[in-house]
């Protein structure tokens, strides 16, 4: 019969209309500024620099090797290597970035910088409210603004952070053992210089 379909359709829309006032599960909208969906662990928005310890400048893991700068597809990273060196987490003197800027407007959140970093110094942040009123200076994020403590990394990506910490600890232990062995060897050589001399001869 003519008009049957319209009646059926109107019943359906009426059900939706009334149902949206009664049941909350119909309304899937998240009222954004007040409520947010918790982000998944693998979420990524924009890179940040990890630092160990409290002092962001001293603890920065970045050694200014500039691999990320070279690999970045849209070329949004700008690094200037320092002239002097500072000790890294093992105690070995390393360069550090005198300038480390990322252009927020250019970054495409591809995570390639994270994947190429051999020092686990750059990681992806989950912060997404990155807009700013200053479109020139505000979008160029500098070293200090990029630095986040390791604890923060643990908070946003716990699995990855635990894995990274375990690897770094292993490396540190290995380095320590090596250093100890080297030290032991040094003391040994110091104790018996003739023997080594004989051996080298």
């Amino acid at each position: 019969m003519l008009g049957e379909g319209i009646i059926k359709g109107m019943a359906e829309t009426a059900r939706n209309f009334l149902g949206s006032y009664v049941s909350d599960e119909r309304l899937t909208t998240v009222q954004y500024p007040e409520e947010r969906i918790p982000q998944t662990e693998n979420a990524r928005q924009f890179p940040f620099l990890v630092h160990d310890g409290e002092d962001w400048h001293k603890g920065l893991r970045c050694v200014a090797c500039q691999i990320c700068e070279k690999e970045c597809p849209p070329k949004c990273i700008y690094i200037e290597k320092s002239k002097d060196k500072k000790p890294d987490y093992v105690g070995k003197p390393q360069f550090y970035p005198a300038v480390f800027d990322i252009d927020l407007a250019v970054c495409m959140s591809c995570q390639i910088c994270v994947e190429v970093c051999p020092f686990d110094a750059i990681k992806m942040n989950i912060e997404y409210e990155l807009s700013t009123a200053d479109r020139f200076g505000g979008l160029l994020v500098n070293k200090q603004q990029l630095a986040r403590p390791n604890a923060y990394f643990h908070k946003i990506h716990p699995t990855e952070a635990a894995e990274v910490d375990a690897r770094l600890a292993a490396e540190k232990a290995k380095a320590n053992a090596k250093a100890k062995a080297a030290a032991a060897a040094a003391t040994k050589t110091a104790a018996a210089p003739p023997a080594t001399e004989a051996a080298t001869k």
Binding site: G9, E12, T13, L27, T28, T29
Partner: protein, 391 residues
């Protein structure tokens, strides 16, 4: 108490007019009526735009606007400010004078149409003897404005939209007026005030509204369908057709001129809804004798809101028609149905009151409806869709 509340606005106007010198009084009276109509319906327009967006949102299980003001009800102010501050673009190739005039020509007749509508007891700006005729004559002027807008923009989408609008509006004008003619026939007057007065009684528990007779019900449904088409609302919104011809005849309009078109469309919808109330739903009369103490203007606006809600509901339900479906529906269903309804009304008028009259009246309306509906559905392949290459 009841009388003073019912006649609140009428006495207010008389009191205000009393301040003017006697020679000016007719002019002041007209001015106050016009200002009141424009003010009230502009506010209603603002309210309805928000309500419509909220209602459509709820139909789609969303919230709709809920940010500006309490529960989002000040959204219209934000929209208005946005429209006002936008750049007013006029295409270089456009006919500038007509392009400028079109939105004004659209809004003016629509506002004029309000002058003959009774909003309450003694609340009519002009009690015309030919009020209904005036209403439809003025309403038809909107078509000129639409074509002015489409033609002067010099844009193919505008022109297509305007042509669709003309085809649609002229096609639906016929059943619109023919369904209104039944009421004019039965009441024997073209005056809106007298049409409302004729529906004032109460027969048992039903009021004497025209919608509660077979011919009146059919007429009301036909009138509302034609009114939807006349006010270019979904499912008859082909002149706009966002997904097909961008926005039809107002593609080239921006800023406040666009807002004026929008206002004109909504005013048109209010006017034609008010006309439907006047013709079929008893005007400002209360539905039950026990509820007569509620002021007449409150009843009128309650009915108006109910009809507007139905418009929103239908907009949220039915998808846009195709132009051939629209024309088929207008000429093969609406027009014959409206003509048969005239006969049904005449038979109802001349038969003595009783059950026989009801049976004949219902048969004269339902029979043709079923037959015409079958004829309309026959050519349609509404079965399961068969794909030749997929599957």
């Amino acid at each position: 108490m009841f009388n003073s509340l019912d006649q609140l606005f009428v006495s207010l106007k008389h009191w205000l007019v009393g301040f003017a010198p006697a020679a000016w009084q007719p002019w002041v009276s007209a001015l106050i009526s016009a200002a009141a109509i424009i003010g009230v319906f502009a506010l209603l327009f603002a309210l309805v735009t928000v309500l419509e967006r909220k209602g459509l949102g709820r139909i789609q299980n969303r919230y709709g606007p809920n940010r500006v003001g309490p529960a989002g009800f000040l959204q219209f102010a934000a929209d208005g400010i946005k429209a006002l501050t936008k750049e007013d673009l006029v295409p270089r190739a456009a006919d500038k004078v007509i392009h400028f005039l079109a939105p004004i020509v659209l809004v003016m007749p629509v506002v004029l149409a309000f002058s003959v509508l009774p909003f309450g007891r003694d609340m009519v700006a002009v009690d015309f003897d030919a009020g209904v005729l005036f209403f439809f004559a003025v309403g038809a002027a909107a078509e000129v404005a639409v074509f002015m807008a489409g033609w002067s923009s010099r844009n193919k989408y505008s022109l297509l939209g305007a042509m669709r609008a003309i085809a649609q509006m002229i096609s639906y004008e016929v059943p619109l007026i023919l369904s209104a003619v039944t009421v004019i026939m039965m009441v024997g007057s073209l005056s809106t005030v007298q049409i409302v007065a004729a529906q004032g009684g109460y027969a048992g528990w039903l009021p004497d509204w025209h919608v509660f007779t077979p011919w009146g019900f059919a007429g009301f449904v036909l009138f509302m369908i034609a009114a939807t088409a006349e006010s270019n609302r979904s499912p008859f919104d082909m002149p706009e057709g966002e997904s097909e011809i961008i926005a039809g005849y107002f593609v080239e309009y921006s800023g406040f001129k666009f807002a004026l078109f929008f206002l004109g469309e909504y005013f048109g919808m209010f006017a034609i809804s008010a006309m439907a109330i006047t013709l079929f739903l008893g005007g400002w009369h209360a539905p039950f004798e026990a509820l007569v103490w509620i002021p007449s203007w409150a009843w009128f606006f309650l009915k108006l809101m109910a009809i507007i809600f139905t418009f929103i509901w239908i907009r949220g339900t039915v998808p846009r028609l195709r132009i051939d479906q629209l024309m088929n529906f207008a000429w093969k269903f609406m027009l014959p149905m409206a003509l048969i309804n005239l006969v049904a009304a005449a038979v109802w008028h001349f038969m003595p009151t009783g059950l026989a009259r009801w049976l004949v009246g219902v048969a004269l309306v339902v029979g043709p409806y079923l037959l015409l509906g079958r004829g309309l559905m026959q050519n349609q392949n509404v079965g399961k869709r068969i794909y030749r290459y997929a599957d």
